[in-house]
């Protein structure tokens, strides 16, 4: 039959094969975090997603409710008193800067994506591209900007942590959708300028960049509360 050398070869190689198979199963198990078959796991996740969606729906309704009641207070008194009306307008103006009111207007959306299937995303590693892009938009007259629906405030920092880009300490992943309010043509021109940032990015890597002028964009409220723990107003 088969000589000894052959038998040894078979046993060793099959052992290696079995080893790799087991490692593969382990790796997949780790990536999907569970002992169940992928199908079952997906099912669980789909139903979890569904219940999360319902919860979000309910919370949104509750929020609408509270906002209506707030408006009642404000409108009823604003109707009688010009002072209150003006105070409310002033407050709204400052709330634009603290992110406590949603804002809207014409502008553009920029979608950045890299098709990296495995490995660290180039975009995430080089998130300074986002910084440059935001600065470019600001210089071209952007009046408010959000990335993946995270409103950028004066204290908003962006950094890379644990396989995600943290904006306002919220993890975000590609594709990055940047929404900016301003003059759509001016913004679009500054972004797509030759030898500008986007031009460079498009040339170099696997990145897809899509810009689109919009008639009306809405930027959401920033949900955390700004707190100054170290800065105090100077009494004059």
């Amino acid at each position: 039959m088969i000589d000894l050398k052959g038998k040894i070869a078979i046993i060793i190689l099959c052992a290696i094969l079995g080893f790799v198979i087991a490692m593969q199963i382990q790796a997949v198990r780790q990536a999907t975090g569970g002992n169940k078959f992928l199908n079952q796991r997906a099912q669980h996740m789909v139903s979890e997603l569904r219940s999360l969606r319902n919860e979000k729906e309910k919370l949104n309704q509750e929020l609408d409710d509270i906002e209506n009641r707030l408006r009642e207070y404000e409108i009823s008194e604003a109707d009688e008193s010009i002072i209150v009306r003006n105070l409310k307008k002033d407050l709204s103006k400052y709330h634009i800067f603290t992110g406590f009111v949603p804002v809207q207007g014409p502008g553009i959306t920029i979608t950045l994506d890299d098709k990296q299937s495995e490995g660290v995303s180039f975009l995430m590693y080089n998130y300074e591209i986002l910084l440059d892009l935001v600065n470019e938009l600001n210089a071209a007259g952007a009046e408010a900007i959000a990335i993946n629906d995270q409103r950028l405030l004066s204290t908003t920092g962006i950094h890379y942590f644990s396989n995600a880009v943290m904006i306002n300490s919220i993890p975000t992943t590609p594709p990055f959708v940047i929404t900016a309010i301003g003059n759509p043509q001016a913004l679009e021109a500054s972004v797509n300028m030759r030898f500008g940032i986007i031009w460079n990015i498009r040339q170099e890597n696997n990145l897809t960049v899509i810009t689109k002028e919009e008639e009306n964009i809405t930027l959401q409220i920033y949900s955390e509360t700004i707190q100054f723990k170290y800065a105090r107003p100077i009494e004059n």
Partner: protein, 240 residues
């Protein structure tokens, strides 16, 4: 005999096959299709995103409930929400950057490098660029800076920094070097941001020889944002 036996077996096999086919059709549900690892991670990301959205909506609800309570109390005690609004405006002005403020923080001064160029070195290496300032401002924000200014100009979210040759234009004002950056916040965190081996300023100093000095101060003063804030395109959403 053999023939009928094998015919029999063949018939049974086909019956089983037919049964499985119809069984499968009755049981088709999208959720049992082939699931790849990528789908799982995408689903997981979606779940995380939803959880995050729920958390932020809860945050907003808490804030608005608080506001509601303030209104209720004000109406009960004073009959008007004027005072509530006034105090809210005070706080909002400070957070928005329209009030001069002071506090503990750091001051960083950047200058172009004085050293000679290495052979074939790009002269751009020795100059302070707008992206250097952007990265530095970002690092300070990540470290919790509550207010920032560049050469006295308050930096808000719509402030653009433009590199125009040897000068920098910010909020419409042009400045040459030195570029002085002030930040108010927790001094330990801010200092770590500029002193750690990964800090951009450390790299700029060590590798490119830029002249960068920094110091902690118990009393950093930052002026308010003093440009006009009339928005040409932006409006507050209806009803807020």
């Amino acid at each position: 005999m053999r023939k009928t036996a094998s015919a029999f077996i063949i018939i049974i096999t086909f019956v089983v096959l037919g049964y499985f086919i119809t069984f499968h059709f009755r049981n088709i549900s999208e959720e049992y299709s082939f699931v790849s690892i990528r789908n799982i991670t995408e689903l997981q990301n979606e779940i995380n995103r939803k959880k995050e959205e729920i958390r932020s909506i809860n945050g907003i609800i808490v804030k608005k409930r608080d506001q509601l309570k303030q209104y209720e109390v004000a109406i009960k005690e004073e009959g008007t929400i004027k005072e509530v609004l006034r105090s809210k405006i005070e706080i909002a002005r400070i957070h928005a950057g329209f009030v001069d403020i002071e506090g503990t923080g750091v001051i960083i001064v950047l200058r172009d490098s004085e050293r000679d160029l290495y052979k074939n070195e790009d002269p751009n290496n020795l100059i302070v660029h707008e992206s250097d300032i952007l990265v530095l401002l970002n690092e300070l924000k990540v470290a919790g800076a509550e207010a920032l200014s560049v050469n006295g100009q308050r930096v808000l979210f719509m402030t653009g920094v433009k590199c125009t040759g040897p000068t920098i234009t910010i909020n419409g004002f042009t400045y040459g070097q030195p570029f002085i950056i002030k930040a108010i916040g927790n001094t330990t965190a801010l200092n770590a941001a500029i002193m750690s081996p990964n800090a951009s300023v450390v790299i700029l100093k060590e590798v490119f020889g830029l002249d960068i000095k920094s110091r902690i101060s118990p009393r950093v003063r930052i002026a308010k944002f003093s440009e006009s804030t009339s928005f040409k395109h932006l409006t507050v959403k209806e009803g807020y």
